[in-house]
């Protein structure tokens, strides 16, 4: 249920955008979910709806989720790989740590080609707010 905290941050960010763009009623939020964080869409949607209900400008908002595929790039050998490869090596505890803090992956994962721990999370890390539509 830490998805609740993320839902709060999404609505706070949307509110900020709404103020900047003089939107009074929010119709749609598009939210990118980075594959690495393995967010539970059901819980996130539930939290967003519950929070939106308490918010006059968000009561009618639709929430659109898009998954951003993950990509890891080795700084040493430039090899790239994705969550599929990474998942095999993560136990349940490690996977949960990465769910909370995606950078925990750097403690557990190594480049599948050269074994280096020096790699970047180049795509699909976490939650971002892609678009805010309203009037």
């Amino acid at each position: 249920m830490h998805e609740w905290a993320l839902a709060e941050s999404i609505l706070a960010a949307a509110e900020k955008t709404a103020t900047q763009e003089h939107l009074k009623t929010i119709k749609e939020l598009t939210i990118n979910l980075g594959e690495l964080q393995q967010i539970d869409r059901g819980i996130l949607r539930f939290a967003l709806k519950a929070l939106a209900d308490e918010h006059p400008s968000f009561t009618k908002a639709k929430f659109v989720f898009k998954t951003e595929k993950s990509q890891f790039t080795c700084n040493v050998c430039a090899h790239t790989w994705d969550y599929k490869d990474l998942k095999k090596t993560l136990g349940a505890t490690e996977a949960e740590a990465v769910h909370f803090i995606p950078e925990a992956a750097l403690a557990y994962v190594r480049c599948v080609r050269c074994g280096s721990p020096d790699f970047q999370i180049t795509k699909g890390r976490g939650v971002t707010l892609a678009t805010v539509k309203g009037t």
């Binding site: 249920m1 830490h2 609740w4 905290a5 993320l6 709060e8 941050s9 999404i10 706070a12 960010a13 949307a14 509110e15 900020k16 955008t17 700084n75 505890t93 490690e94 740590a97 909370f100 803090i101 995606p102 950078e103 925990a104 750097l106 403690a107 557990y108 721990p117 020096d118 970047q120 999370i121 890390r125 976490g126 939650v127 971002t128 707010l129 892609a130």
Partner: protein, 248 residues
């Protein structure tokens, strides 16, 4: 848009005072002081301790917090140890090395700031890493109303690094509670420099050979000469807070 910065103010809304125990220099006793300060204040305040040293987290070793984990309740709720709400990167790295680049450090800190539910606190103590890198810049940028307790030793080498942190904090008009001299010698070679900067010299803590044996045992730490000296300096720290709030 990164949604995390937008929620930090909410997470900190019910925290009265945030104190970053910082130095610029490593090994001067930031973690010892941060942890012991948290333990002392927790005797009659609601206190949190947040270890921000992602490469060399130490607060859990000092507190003896080995099997703790945060619980989930609309975010992560820090576990409590010796009456202190405690958050640390070790909960996620399980003591493994964290070979992080700067942008990873920023992401880790931002994520923890966004999802940690500190709830109501009188004090949140931040145990800072050395340097003026991503962690320090992120605290300056993201943590609302952060005050700084700057730690040094009497060594010229330590003051070389500490001076740089003070330069930045003073240039940015950040509230500095004062400077604490750890493993002090007599007479203090740094008092003059601090006065020249119009900063407060909060006092000194002795080199205490009994400290090592007390590591991991909060109650013992408080009874060491180090712990008792720090306790005597608490009024000076609390006085600053009172002065700061009456200036508002």
């Amino acid at each position: 848009m990164d949604p995390r910065p937008s929620i930090i103010a909410t997470r900190f809304a019910r925290i009265k005072t945030v104190i970053a125990v910082a130095s610029g220099k490593g090994g001067v006793g930031k973690s010892m002081i941060a942890a012991t300060l948290a333990l002392s204040l927790a005797k009659n305040h609601r206190v949190g301790l947040f270890d921000l040293d992602v490469y060399g987290p130490s607060a859990h070793l000092i507190l003896g917090a080995s099997d703790l984990q945060p619980t989930e309740d609309k975010g992560l709720v820090p576990p409590r140890i010796s009456n202190v709400s405690f958050m640390s990167p070790v909960f996620f790295t399980q003591g493994r090395a964290s070979p992080l680049r700067g942008s990873d450090v920023t992401n880790m800190i931002l994520e923890l700031l966004a999802i940690t539910q500190w709830r109501k606190l009188d004090y949140l103590i931040l145990d800072m890493p050395p340097g003026i890198g991503d962690e320090t810049l992120d605290v300056i940028r993201f943590v609302p109303n952060c005050t700084f307790l700057v730690v040094t030793t009497p060594s010229k080498v330590a003051m070389g690094a500490v001076d740089k942190l003070l330069d930045i904090l003073q240039e940015l008009h950040r509230p500095i509670i004062g400077i604490l001299e750890n493993m002090a010698t007599e007479p203090s070679p740094i008092k003059d420099d601090i006065t020249k900067r119009s900063l407060r010299y909060l006092g000194s803590l002795p080199y205490d050979p009994s400290l090592e044996a007390a590591l991991g045992h909060p109650e013992k730490i408080l009874t060491t000469p180090f712990g008792q000296s720090l306790r005597r300096l608490l009024p000076a720290i609390e006085r600053y807070e009172t002065a700061a709030s009456s200036n508002k």
